[in-house]
Amino acid sequence: MHPGLNEILFISTALFFIGVYGFFTRRNLVTMLMSIELILNSVNLNFIAFNKYLWPHRLDGLFFTIFVIAIAAAEAAVAIAIIINLYRSHQSIDVENAEEMKY
């Protein structure tokens, strides 16, 4: 059977929930950031698959993917700046120790 839209949607759904599982179980900020990257990638895969199979006369899904990648890059840079700053002041990047960041 030739793989089509349903197979790709299965992959992206599985990747999304792998990311959700990682986000629930990890307590380290860097690994939580990795889980978020997996989730964003699954969304991108969805956009591209829908663009190719259901909406091939426009390129809207492709542009959404490009913008999601740009925003993910900005988000990762800011998150890592915050994480390194947190490590400097607390000597730990565990979420349990980060609760006093809210003020």
Binding site: F10, I11, V30, K52, I66
Partner: protein
């Protein structure tokens, strides 16, 4: 079974397998390397779908940028050779159950729904088409979001500098 089908399932196996290892490995550096392979697998899927430009962007931005940034931050914040602490079994069970229930729900919806595609002629996702539509200002053009994203990237740049500034100790 033809070649492209086999390649598709190999890419799917690479993506999902290394993604699963990335969220379960207890050595954080290995976890980052597994994440790298998972992202390469996603780029391979883009190649398989013949969206070459997105695949190249995926490799350049994710594999070349974000993963390298993550590895740097691991080096800066982690003692080498130290394993992550074991999580509580209850939390792991709860997370696995929640993820599995969500997966089952979505897949149930997915296989019951019948997708209906458009019948209009497809346009190829070439770089010329992408560029013309991205900077177009007529209907379907993406000039305004393009500018907004560039402002966002500038804001992120300035924000990173401000966050990373070392505050001077008080001189009194």
């Amino acid at each position: 079974m033809e070649g492209s089908t086999i390649i598709f399932y190999l890419l799917a196996l690479l993506t999902l397998g290394s993604g699963l290892l990335a969220v379960t490995s207890r050595q954080i550096f290995r976890s980052a390397i597994y994440l790298l392979f998972s992202l390469i697998g996603v780029a391979g899927l883009y190649f398989w779908l013949q969206y070459e430009f997105i695949a190249a962007v995926q490799i350049v931005v994710y594999v070349g940028g974000i993963v390298v940034l993550i590895i740097f931050s691991i080096f800066l914040t982690q003692q080498t050779g130290e394993k992550l602490p074991q999580q509580k079994l209850g939390r792991q069970l709860f997370a696995a159950l929640a993820a599995f229930c969500g997966l089952a729900l979505i897949l149930l919806q997915l296989y019951q729904y019948k997708f209906i595609g458009t019948t209009e002629a497809a346009i190829a996702p070439t770089v010329a088409n992408i560029g013309n539509q991205m900077l177009g200002t007529d209907v379907g053009g993406y000039a305004l979001p393009f500018e907004v994203v560039s402002i966002l990237l500038l804001a992120a740049l300035i924000g990173c500098i401000v966050i990373a500034l070392r505050t001077k100790p008080e001189t009194n």
